[in-house]
């Protein structure tokens, strides 16, 4: 049985542009200075991961797999996600 009831639009946008409470499907991590993508991957931010925006100010905080991650704006700009509409 599948419990995925989410659909997503296909255009990838920066994580930082998600609204609070909105979900996104990670598609890639771009413009990475060395080490950035390695650090993010090891924290579970890989293509296909589902993230949820929790807070945009003063720092970006998002949720991924029961883990809250806080990042600065530049990092949130570099994570590309496809926004998902929750149709439940």
């Amino acid at each position: 049985m599948s419990c995925t009831l989410l659909t997503f639009t296909s255009k990838a946008v920066p994580l930082s542009s998600l609204a609070v409470g909105q979900h996104g499907l990670v598609s890639s991590v771009s413009g990475a200075p060395t080490g950035r993508s390695d650090r993010l991957v090891s924290l579970g931010i890989t293509p296909g991961a589902v993230v949820t925006m929790l807070q945009r100010f003063p720092g970006v905080v998002f949720f991924c797999d029961q883990t809250e991650l806080a990042v600065e704006r530049a990092v949130a700009d570099a994570i590309l996600v496809r926004p998902m509409e929750d149709v439940r």
Binding site: C3, T4, S42, T46, G59, D65, E72, A74, V75
Partner: protein
Amino acid sequence: MSCHVVREHAGAGPAVLTLRSRPLRVALVGQPNVGKSVVFGRLTGRYVTVSNYPGTTVAITRGRALVGAQVCDIIDTPGVNALEGDVSEDERITRDVLTSDGADLIVQVADARNLRRALMLTAQIAAFGKPMVLALNMVDEAWARGISIDAADLSAVLGIPVVETVAIDGQGFSDLREALARAAVAGAPVGRTSIDRAAWANDLTGRVRRQSTLSLSRIPDLIARATRQPLTGLPILAVVLYALYLFVGVFGAQTLVRLLEDGVFGRGINPASIWLVDRFMPVPFVHDFLVGQYGLITMGLTYAIAIVLPVVTTFFLMFGFLEDSGYIPRLAIFCDRIFRVMGLNGKAVLPMVLGLGCDTMATMTTRILGTPKERLIAILLLALGIPCSAQLATILGILGGVSLAALMTLFVVVLGQMFLVGWLAARVLKGDRSEFIMELPPIRWPRLGNLLTKTRLRVWWYLGEAVPLFLAGTVLLFVLDRLGALIWISRVAEPVVTGLLGLPAATAQILVMGFLRRDYGAAGLFQLAHSGQLTGVQAVVALTVMTLFVPCVANFLIMVRERGLRVGLAIVGVITPVALLTGAGLNYVLHALDVHF
């Protein structure tokens, strides 16, 4: 997308637990902080120290365990996030254990809350082709969050035993021991890219994991949200700071200090030692050395134990509480932007807050920062502007009795200097700042035992480091006094101290003591103020200079150990003029504006 996975059923595989001549080597592998050390302790009955500081667990721990009739060697490996590609020092050690035929069987310990990340590691472990068992640890926390995992289904897909455990109370451990006999090579996509592994882990997680929505209303989650959002977070920060002030500044620095200084030392130890000395060694020199004005007992020990110890202990208790509750990383979100101007990122909040307890200890924890430039700036700012707990107690004790405006003046000037020096350092120094990426641990109620152990170790460390220096400083002062050098130093420094800073000449001597031990000098200032020798403006100027001034000898030595003698001297060379010029400027401005606090 579907995955075609070759399954090897455990029943068909070779029995791993046959009697053999040497012990079966079982390696525990898992991501950091999944509870591996606790699992190790449960299996072997041995306790390994649980350390929170990174870079401290490089060695591998081994222990014996009897599983059925089979003797096993359990190997605890450093936590790993990846085993392929560019790996860290810790990860290389773990990989070596798995490749060099150091282990016959692998137990992957996973955090049940985070199955997807665990499965990405499972796929990498499977590549070593060794029989394995998956232990889903922390299922208690997962259940509390409304997460459940179909372990039977997961086991069927992977073709390995999957056991749910709660390491801290031993749940699931008989299942885990029994499962070792059924260990098998996992059927996971081997040898593909990390993207493929991630997709596979995603699909499988979606299949076996159920999440109910009830989880969001848990109280700790509500607190977690409140602490990181500005609207609620800033008032909470204010409350935390006020609680810190009440517990450390009032209860520690006033109530306990009075109890120890006036009671235990003033009425007990000091009169008793004076009596003992005069009775058994009635030599003036011995009297002065042990129990005189700069006496080893009456000054050194009294300051170390009666004035500083209560402040340090209450501070470390409070700090440990904030650390274990998961609050401090959330504070980093608020500090990130401000710290970035000074070439740091939000992570630096940990050493900065710890510096309010002891700058020397905080200087050592700057190792958690990402780049050499960040470490250097943090060390500089700790030495320059962060008052340690004894200084803070002095500041609050003296200026609290003057006025709030006096207190605010000092904090604004000190913070302004830190900001300015940090801003300049960020521009002048070569190197990079690292990006702010921080995992926020769940908010939880700290466990009392852990908190007490931590505080005890820190206070112990402090005593071992501080008391000998206090005593050495006291001896030095005694010698200088005997040689008449104190008067000479005061005379040399007098033009600066009285002219430039507008302070009484006696302050010169206190500044010298301040270098031997920063908090020690602070305590000396305390006495001066209490005997009514300082005006309000003088108190503000003296305390500002003291806060900004050259760190204590211990801090200097640690700076040299961490960054080398050249850097240590350079930091002192920057701080000394900054402190004196700021004090002179402040003195000038306050007089020009005719301010009286």
